[in-house]
């Protein structure tokens, strides 16, 4: 029996070891994006208003030239838990955009944006976006921070359930923006491609979008590539998950309620069951009510 057990354990250990080996070997190919500190991580995380406003500025002045963000409405800029624009400020942002609409006579017209409008896309349609960008349409950015990730691998993905690490998306985007470099010797970069060490396959169609000093910050934050990429990643996370602050706040309330409820239920259960659970004392003739719980 002992021998049998040993063989099983050894066989399993061998299997797991053999399975992990190729995964480790692959890591040299594409580095894992560094884990950054985000204000919105963890159970008490909130978006940093200043960072979201800076990130929005980066989006508006740089990304928006090619990337749409069609599920975001101008009114969202003034939503609680977001970048903290006032309604008037959000309306002013909206008014700067031209929205295609029909006028009273049914004729196509461009009118200034309103709070209820969503951000208009930079290209009329996907084909136009493709044609203008070397055959690859730049993805819409509404859910981008949740649509990008990287492999965590065993056992890290198990620990992530405890540490609540959920920021693969922004970590990846920030790393990608910093990940442009010269292709290593022997790497065949197709025409129109750009080498990025974090991009799967390393050949990314998007040219390096951000350079230091490109966007002017008026709150004194450093105008570096590193800062830009963090700010835009935070902004995209908010755009993908605009109710996160509310979610985590309600989550805390729910958790406190449920833990107290479970505790009360546990002691009620103990009380109800003690006559069944203390049968030996009761069997010896002791009054059930006098046994301790």
């Amino acid at each position: 029996m002992k021998m049998q057990r040993k063989i099983i354990v050894l066989a399993l250990a061998g299997c797991i070891g053999a399975a992990i080996a190729p995964a480790v070997a692959q890591e040299h190919d594409t580095p894992t994006p560094p884990m950054l500190r985000w204000s919105f991580s963890g159970p008490f995380g909130r978006y940093d208003q200043g960072q979201l406003q800076r990130g929005f500025k980066v989006y508006k002045e740089v990304c928006a030239a090619c990337h749409s963000i069609q599920m975001l409405a101008f009114r969202n800029l003034a939503d609680p838990g977001g970048p903290g624009f006032s309604e008037a400020q959000a309306a002013a942002v909206a008014a700067d955009y031209k929205i295609s609409d029909l006028d009273d006579k049914g004729q196509p017209t461009d009118r200034p944006g309103r709070l209820a409008d969503t951000f208009p896309p930079p290209f009329a349609n996907e084909l136009a976006a493709k044609a203008a960008n070397g055959g690859v349409a730049p993805p819409d950015m509404s859910t981008l921070a949740k649509a990008r990730t990287f492999e965590r691998g065993f056992p890290w993905f198990v620990f992530d359930t405890i540490t609540q690490y959920q920021e693969q998306g922004p970590d990846y985007i920030a790393a990608l923006l910093n990940g442009y470099e010269e292709p290593p010797k022997g790497f065949q970069l197709p025409q129109g491609g750009h080498y990025n060490k974090y991009f799967p396959g390393h050949n990314i169609a998007m040219p390096p979008p951000l350079q230091a000093g490109q966007v002017t910050y008026d709150d004194g934050a450093p105008q570096t590539l590193d800062q830009y990429s963090k700010d835009i990643s935070a902004f995209l996370m908010w755009a993908a998950e605009p109710h996160m602050v509310q979610r985590k706040r309600i989550g805390l309330q729910v958790m406190i309620f449920l833990i107290i409820l479970a505790g009360l239920m546990y002691f009620t259960k103990k009380k109800v069951w003690h006559e069944v659970d203390k049968p030996s004392a009761i069997a010896r003739g002791q009054d059930p009510k006098k046994t301790t719980i």
Binding site: C15, M71, H243, K248, K269, V272
Partner: protein, 408 residues
């Protein structure tokens, strides 16, 4: 086994109703005086948790359906609109998406518990088979629900899974076209999946009623696997089982809330936040975590038709478990060899799940094949033979003896 009801309502109106429809007596005999073995452990609370989760899925699902649009051009957008614009829509959707995962997690605990304690053995075969039917319906429902999001993984999962039917010789292609309602996964597919995703939970609810009915006829199994013999072996459902179920359900809800509020996308796939695009295939197409062991079995077999057959057999085989396990002793507590093979089976199932998430190449395929062989050998070789060769431990005379020790 259902408790003799002495239910006599005091209220005049209830007396009037009881004479015409004795529903009070039914509830009283099923959920109040119904005797349950006194030695049930917390693994037996998962039945109640599953009933609760079905309720959560139906209620959140009905409200989500009020805001969802089953159209290829609008589905993804409408889901995002639920997340952004519907009041507490994010909560409804995360409850529903993670609720499916919790539902499957609970059903797996429930099933492994049934196997460990031999709950499928005579006279509980029909109870067990009804459970297998519920599980099959859950798989169909969960799969179609995942498709409704109409993200990249939704679309490609739908394509891969429906394409499995094309392996059937002769009529395969016809069946797939019929399933799709066209020549590719498209709007008719999404529409029928939506319709069926709304219908099937109510079918599940119906089979759950049969499952509970069968349970109340044969009574619950218990950790000793021996039937209750006297009143000393049982306690009344209320308050004993209700408070115990209630406590553990609250504890289970802590886990559920942890996922919903703190890591709502942990169990999902990032690619499903990219709208479905028939022109772009994701690098790795993987199903939801709860199908991964079966996906690993499918891909472990080099031949498509054989793979599909193995996938189907791996689920259908569960229905034959009462007859494959030849041992007269129910509980693993008294079956030292079975206990070891059982835990190895659990490790193999979890291992297959992990392999299902890996690309089908190199060592992963070899491991998946070894694990698949064990999966089937457990049912077809180990269980039938164990019943003949295993030397089981002596059973206690009664449940109360096992709890109180021989002196009581």
């Amino acid at each position: 086994m259902s408790g003799h009801s002495t239910y006599e309502p005091q209220n005049k109106l209830l007396q009037w109703l009881e004479k015409r429809l004795p529903i009070g007596a039914l509830i009283h005999s099923s959920f109040v005086v119904y005797p349950v073995p006194r030695n049930l452990n917390y693994l037996w609370t998962f039945g109640g948790i599953l009933a609760f989760m079905l309720g959560v899925q139906i209620i959140t699902g009905i409200v989500l359906a009020m805001h969802y649009t089953p159209h290829v051009d609008l589905a993804f957008r409408s889901v995002e609109s639920i997340m952004r614009d519907v009041n507490y829509g994010w909560l409804l959707r995360y409850l529903h998406a993670n609720g499916a995962s919790m539902f499957f997690f609970a059903v797996y605990v429930h099933m492994f518990r049934g196997i460990y304690y031999g709950s499928y053995k005579e006279p509980r075969e029909v109870l067990w088979i009804l459970g297998v039917i519920i599980y099959l319906l859950m798989m169909a429902t969960g799969f179609m629900g995942y498709v409704l999001v109409w993200g990249q993984m939704s679309f490609w999962a739908a394509t891969v899974i429906t394409n499995l039917f094309s392996a059937i010789p002769g009529v395969g292609e016809t069946i797939v076209t019929w399933l799709w309602g066209g020549y590719a996964v498209g709007n008719p597919t999404l529409n029928r999946f939506y319709s069926l995703h709304y219908l099937l939970p109510f079918v599940i609810a119906g089979v759950v009623v049969l499952h509970i009915w069968a349970l109340h006829v044969v009574g619950q199994n218990n950790p000793t696997g021996i039937e209750p013999k006297s009143e000393k072996d049982t306690v009344a459902f209320t308050p004993y089982a209700t408070i115990k179920d209630g406590f553990f359900m609250a504890a289970f809800l802590v886990l559920y809330a942890w996922f919903v509020f703190y890591i709502p996308n942990f169990l999902g796939h990032a690619d499903n936040y990219i709208p479905a695009n028939p022109a772009v295939t994701p690098t790795h197409i993987v199903p939801e975590w709860y199908y991964l062991p079966f996906y690993a079995i499918l891909r472990a077999i080099p031949d498509k038709l054989m793979g599909v057959l193995a996938l189907g057999a791996s689920i259908v085989i569960l229905a034959f478990l009462p007859w494959l396990d030849t041992s007269k002793v129910r509980s693993a507590r008294y079956r030292p060899l079975f206990k070891q093979f059982f835990w190895l089976f659990v490790i193999v199932c979890v291992g297959l799940g992990w392999l299902g998430s890996k690309p089908p190449e190199g060592i992963y395929v070899i491991l998946a094949r070894i694990f698949t062989i064990y999966y089937f050998a457990f049912f077809l070789v180990i269980l039938p033979l164990l019943g003949i060769f295993e030397k089981t431990k002596p059973l206690p005379n009664s449940i109360s003896e096992s709890v109180l020790g021989a002196k009581a």
